[in-house]
């Protein structure tokens, strides 16, 4: 299995990318990596070249670059070269921590969509409050406007992923909406509800409201990219504020509070562990001809390592081939 790595994408690239890749290389004998990026930068951090090839690229796509323009004009960038290598059959999957929009554009325009899949969706794994192993959440922002049949396709593709990668026999799927009743939402959501209800191969359980996203009540939540992104940002912002206020309350109010903080500290660490997203892997662009996976721009080497494990699982279980067979056989 060959993975093309955009070594220059992300806030702490290439260091954390290389550390994560080397950890994964040491763990998995069946993986080969091609690192695309500035050779001299990569060589500063690379300790061992076993199963790792470096391909020099002069350019880097920045977080501020306009996505489509960047992939059209920066053809010698690490991200575009990595994507091109997959298109040309030299590698099997693309991994990047870089500009999400540009990776989406490289995925669609360079790697290409699976025939009959209208649009790929960005699928994230969100932590949940029960014993379940996260909830698959898509589209978390790739398609600001969506048609009902896109959501139908995303549900179908994510069920393949949930079964094969997460080992869930009959994953439950819900539609994110502004109420649980079947007739809630605008026309697109009402149409999506009907399409999902009529799908025989998925276990559609109806609408879900945004206050239940993290409850772990369902295995998969489908939504349009606009709603998906807005809800996700609301969750991130809220949790950041609550954690910040909690920390402030426990550390700034005298000796008694500090003693109390020390007592509850193990429980709070458990909470942190529960919402640790490093192990969940990266966000997958589902619907492309090869796995294209994005880790957070500020991910650490541990998150890089787990995301590579996730890509290996996707290649091993032939997720792309299964989706392709479903739509084109």
């Amino acid at each position: 299995m060959k993975i093309a790595v955009d070594a220059m994408g992300g806030d702490n690239a290439p260091q954390v990318v290389i550390e994560g890749v080397e950890k994964a290389r040491d763990q998995y004998d069946d993986l080969e990596f091609t690192l695309y990026g500035k050779t001299e930068e990569i060589n500063k951090y690379l300790k061992d070249t076993k199963n790792i090839t470096i391909v020099h690229s002069d350019e880097v796509i920045l977080g501020t670059d306009e996505p489509v323009k960047a992939i059209r004009s920066k053809k010698q960038s690490s991200m575009v070269m990595a994507a091109k290598s997959v298109k040309d059959g030299e590698n099997d999957a693309v991994f990047s921590l870089g500009n999400t929009g540009a990776l989406l554009a490289a995925g669609i325009f360079v790697v290409g969509r699976i025939k009959k899949v209208d649009r790929p969706a960005l699928m994230s794994t969100l932590p949940v409050a029960n014993e379940n192993d996260g909830v698959l959440y898509l589209d978390s922002g790739a398609n600001a406007s969506a048609k009902a049949n896109y959501l139908e396709q995303w549900a179908t593709m994510s069920v393949f992923y949930a079964k094969e990668i997460k080992g869930i026999d009959n994953p439950t799927v819900a539609l994110l909406n502004n109420g649980e009743e079947y007739d809630k939402g605008d026309d697109m959501h009402k149409d999506a509800y009907q399409l999902l209800s009529n799908l025989e191969n998925i276990n559609f359980v109806g609408n879900i409201e945004s206050n239940e996203i993290l409850t772990g009540k369902v295995d998969i939540i489908v939504t349009d990219g606009f709603t998906g992104n807005a809800a996700l940002k609301a969750i991130e912002g809220t949790s950041k504020i609550i954690m910040g206020q909690l920390k402030k309350a426990l550390t700034e109010n005298g000796i008694v509070t500090k003693l109390g903080a020390a007592i509850v500290s193990p429980s709070l660490n458990g909470l942190r562990e529960m919402f640790d997203t490093s192990k969940s892997g990266g966000a997958v662009l589902l619907g492309l001809k090869a796995p294209v996976v994005k880790a957070h721009g500020n991910a650490d080497a541990r998150a890089v390592y787990y995301t590579i494990g996730q890509i290996r699982d996707m290649l091993d279980k032939k997720i792309v081939e299964q989706v392709n067979d479903y739509y084109n056989d």
């Binding site: 489509v68 323009k69 059209r72 669609i108 325009f109 360079v110 290409g112 969509r113 649009r119």
Partner: protein
């Protein structure tokens, strides 16, 4: 390559990409109005033209191509 050969190739690409029989495609076929193409479809098609005919199409030029006939004329005059 003659204009007829370019037309034949482009009709093949359009037929494949937009899942429409080749005999229903004419020079007047409009990507947005007749094929329901959106911005992503159009960029993908532009990249496909670049791959097929080997020359780069600027964003400004790509925006002016609205029909199959205009695509053929562009390729023919830039080869």
């Amino acid at each position: 390559m003659s204009e007829e050969q370019i037309m034949e190739k482009i009709v093949g690409l359009v037929s494949d990409r937009f899942d429409i029989p080749a005999d229903q495609i004419t020079a007047n076929t409009n990507f947005k109005d007749n094929l329901d193409a959106d911005s992503i479809d159009l960029v993908e098609f532009t990249l496909e033209l670049e791959d097929e005919f080997g020359n780069e199409i600027s964003d400004e030029d790509a925006e002016k191509i609205k029909t199959v006939g205009e695509a053929v004329a562009y390729i023919n005059s830039n080869q």
